[in-house]
Amino acid sequence: MKKKQIKVTVELFGGLYVKLQNENYDFETGIELDMAEKSTPKDILKALELPFFKTMIFFVNKERASANTRLKNGDKLICLTAASGG
């Protein structure tokens, strides 16, 4: 049986923003994706053909989340890469 679809708004910053090759992405608003129900941030990265590595940081609806958090319809996901110095 085909999984139910959900809509997730994704914003990417840091190295992910640099690496993204998607002309539909808008820096101000991000990108809205149709994903299978219970998709995770890791699945989102895969859908956008972006790599996953350990030092990534995720927020779902402004709350900290993990790479394996299950997303719901209407969620807003922020993906960042950790950094240092300044």
């Binding site: 910053f13 840091g14 190295g15 923003y17 640099v18 690496k19 820096f27 101000e28 590595f53 350990k54 030092t55 940081i57 927020f59 900290r64 993990s66 922020i78 960042l80 890469t81 950790a82 950094a83 240092s84 110095g85 300044g86």
Partner: protein
Amino acid sequence: MKTIKAVNNKVVEVNLTSGAIDTLTVAEDDRRNYLGGKGLALKLIYDRIKPGIDPLSADNILVLMSGPTTGTAAPTGGRFVLAAKSPLTGIFATSYIGGHFGVNLKRAGYDGIIIHGKAESPVYISVTSEGVTIEDASSLWGLDTYDLQEKEQEKGQWAVIGPAGENLVRYAAVVSGNRIAGRCGLGAVMGSKNLKGLVANAKARVVAVNTDGFKKALKIAQKKVKAHQNTGVNMVELGTAQNVMIYGTSNIMPVKNYTKPYFDKIKNISAEKIRDEHYVKNHGCFGCSIKCGRIGDFNNKKRVSPEYETIALMGSNLEIDELPKIAEWNETLNRLGMDSISAGNTIGFAMELNEKGMLKSELEFGKTGNINSILEDIAYRKGLGDDLAEGVKRLSEKYGGKEFAIHVKGLELAAYDPRGCTGQGLGYATANCGATHLSGATHSVEVGSYLQPYGTRGKAHMVKMMQDVTDVANSAIFCIQAQYPFLEENPTYKNTPDFILKFVMRYLPAVSAATIELSDFCSLVSGIMGYKINHKEYYKIGERIFNLERYMNCREGIDSTDDTLPERLLGEELIKGAPPIELKKMMKKYYKLRGWDDKGHPKPGTLERLNIAVS
């Protein structure tokens, strides 16, 4: 081409009062125990200075010291350090800088310079392979840092002060090229000595003592710097400003003098915005492959693009989202020779004083208004600028507002609000020079969730470990950016599942600290020095340097009552429901790990174990 050993052990000692110039050889024990850079600079000061001297008097001693890496091909090996007693904090301070001065100093055959006394009139110090001289700088006094370096570029590579240093602004910086040693007001120490700058000009190849060992280690290190996500991609593409979205989203970037968790207009001041709309080219320090600096086009003016700390303190902290304005202020700060972290905090504090009616001025949050002219007034100590030139602590002592004066031991906070990364709070409270982000920086580990951002678990161990490791890096000298690929680009870290890493760091912090990967540092430094330094020795050097500086500060009156955080950060909730910083609990554990007594003094046994001679 002539070659110079990376560890030459020759240091020049200049007395500006008498004009005497002597050369000394670094003692073998000092080199082994303190390495170079920060460690050696502090040891040389410790051997010479009396406690209680006025930082702006002729009695203060300023040391400029290269590290063993300086001038070599080691990643980020272009840096040097300045050390002295700080006029901002009254305790010892070190400030780091790239550019090309340190490399030329090393090429001339000197590892460092010790400066005593005060010249009768403005002078500069010239360093070449032929020797060191004191020259008249009357015609240079009053010039800004960029103009001086441009006008006098044929003389070599400079480290200079601007009008802020001349006028003894307590957070005056030293500038080399367009890189800045900003923190703790060491530019004012130069100004107090009538020392406008130093220039070094020499041609030589700096070589490691063990060239084969160094080359082997270098190959691995360079590969790791390129492979690491931060130094291989993020810093190259976005610079330090990449932190804006990371720390802004994580409620760590300061907003409105540390009263709000999030800046609504954050995207307007982001690195991504700079990249898309202002980027012209990268620039960097000598020999650096990362080149995290960038030149941008801001309203048709080519300027150095502001770094993260400047964007945060002069941007979100003042509720300002106009990048071209922040870039303009950044250039003004660089030209006048002032620390943007302290300046941004001080202006933010003055804005709140104005808002509360405690010090009326035109400074208002969210208004760009007259900030550029205020910066000029600070540098020349005119009107309100004369008060602002004293920094947040002294401003609060004069006009009130101690409860929202954001500083530790007199040094204004770097751009990481510890209410969103509590270990960083312990780091700020115990860092020897005050609230710096370059000692015990745990914010990235906490934001990355290896340690939980809130709570106390594993924090004391992590802060101590980071402080010790960073003190060695600052002595070697590696840029802080180089630490992460060395620590993280290894099979143990990369192949260990996340849940195990998190478990060990949180629940077995002693194991985590003891097993941290230092082999790349050890191999590189061993190759440069010509003798083997193992993991245990490397760590111990860091611990020794940290405790020496602590002991020097204790002689100046520092104790446990100074190891604290601003009242606002301990008492005011930033994020609804977030637990407060449990500083006392972390501190108790930290003192025990450090081997300090309840007053925060290193115990005699601790000093003895680290071979620190008490005087």
